[in-house]
Assembly symmetry: C3
Homo-oligomer: 135 residues x 3
Amino acid sequence: MPHLVILYTGQLEHDTDMTQLCRSLADTMLAVRDEAGEQVFPTGGVRVLAYPAAHHAVADGSGDHGFVYLNLRMGKGRSEAAQNNAGQLLLATAKAHFADLLTRRHVGITLQIDVGLPVFDGRIGNLHPLFAPSA
Amino acid sequence: MPHLVILYTGQLEHDTDMTQLCRSLADTMLAVRDEAGEQVFPTGGVRVLAYPAAHHAVADGSGDHGFVYLNLRMGKGRSEAAQNNAGQLLLATAKAHFADLLTRRHVGITLQIDVGLPVFDGRIGNLHPLFAPSA
Amino acid sequence: MPHLVILYTGQLEHDTDMTQLCRSLADTMLAVRDEAGEQVFPTGGVRVLAYPAAHHAVADGSGDHGFVYLNLRMGKGRSEAAQNNAGQLLLATAKAHFADLLTRRHVGITLQIDVGLPVFDGRIGNLHPLFAPSA
């Protein structure tokens, strides 16, 4: 944690640059601050993954409608202000990214932030130390 | 919300028509009614996405067993009766869809409905207005 | 339930054998015991699915960093000891699997276990009976 997973209808793969969206959302996560002005998400903990669906059905099938679901799962302990700030900034980034697409196609876009409460939480890997502040 | 995500072992991709299943499940969602006879899921809010796994392992590896996980995430506020009705109808749709496959292969199929409790919930997009009732 | 879903950055697809990881994790799940020495996960209920992301962004983009998220969702009712034992064993399996990769690349790896609390839980399929104990 935190990580942001994007699930979307596959026809959008050719309509918008999802690699760009991943980078924009990661940069947004890096920019989120709490009330004290501190970075809310540690640099090494920012991860965004995007998955086009192989199959989909949206609404009543009356058109080739699209859907994008953005879900950020973060650990507990962050303030409500930090959570809301993250949500508003990520939503603004998504809105800017999809503005052009929405002039050409009907798409539903939902962004949700969940606070995960896992019963077990383990980490391995060597990513965080890369961004640890030097003494 | 609501949206239904289907995760499944990749070998099933050639065994059953998952696009058809998505449509059948979306149509089922559109047909779910609550105690008052009202549509439980708004038309523009019905979204089904299906993802074959690139890699999998099932049970003890004693055969090329399959697995399908259907997960509907919906917002809070719907009655227990509406939730249960949705579950029973979706399960019936899945059962009918997979009846033939189950005569040919061992497959585990699980359908779960979660009520999401996100700490942030934002929407953009232009899908819902398309299905809004006219005044 | 239980099932374990692995989400990972797509560049790792060529760096490590994810089918092997799925099998190793499934075997680990089969080996987990509770305080009474009983198998924690029924054989027919062990399912592992792995998904490379089509697009991703990790940290500040300063390198082609990787990310692997392993999420086991299980039903309620298992003891804390069983949950923790499962977590420790799965983490050890993941650590062994990725040891070589971590000498070559920066990768963040997170394993979390969630206890699902679905409002509807249905099963169909013919996998469990295959592994039912004979009378």
